[in-house]
Symmetry: C2
Subunit: 94 residues, 2 copies
DNA sequence: ACGACCCAGATCCAAAGGGTATTGGACCGC
DNA sequence: GCGGTCCAATACCCTTTGGATCTGGGTCGT
């Protein structure tokens, strides 16, 4: 699992559409699709409900919904970590 | 910034020694050293106090100490995310 | 002075990650 | 039923990243 995968996942979860999420992330659709599958594989669970025939939306599965909450927390924490260092360290140098 | 870098950083911070941390992580010392430098570069701050001439320990800088707390939270959250999915999804398969 | 220890740099190679092109399935208008 | 459209997944290639080995510079203990 990587931070990139987590970001990708969140974007797709929010857009409910891989292609749109890809645009938002400035990557192309296939890599995004692949990372999603890889993440699901690593976790051993389907994060999306693709089988929803007739509906094109990438809807979150129950596991997906659970994971989404954690994913957001992780990304928030990462950002906090960056900020904390940049704030404390950024004051001194030129 | 990647989860790997964060793990590496935590290990080195705990061991106060790159070589030992490398052994613990089952990687060799140079890659570990590089990732550390890269992380510091990305964050724009020194996480360790290498300048402490005469002292071989990789001691955390003030920024390093701050970052360490966040780093641990991130890793914990990642593990929680994995567990949550595996627990809920792991019941069905084989 | 020599050996032990430690971090960082250089170099090489394998693996990962992204891009384009394409396929396959589902829906829609005709 | 047949093309057109939309979407995700696959195939294939290529660049980039990340790890391993080897080397160098520096400090300490003997």
């Amino acid at each position: 699992m990587s931070l990139t995968q987590i970001q990708y996942f969140v974007a797709v979860a929010e857009e409910e559409n891989v292609t749109r999420a890809a645009r938002r992330l400035h990557v192309s659709q296939p890599p995004l699709s692949r990372q999603l599958l890889k993440l699901e594989d690593e976790l051993g669970a389907a994060l999306f409900d693709r089988a929803a025939a007739g509906d094109k939306r990438m809807q979150l599965s129950p596991e997906g919904r659970t994971f989404l909450e954690h994913a957001r927390r992780i990304l928030a924490e990462v950002e906090a970590a960056e900020q904390s260092v940049k704030t404390s360290g950024g004051l001194r140098g030129t």
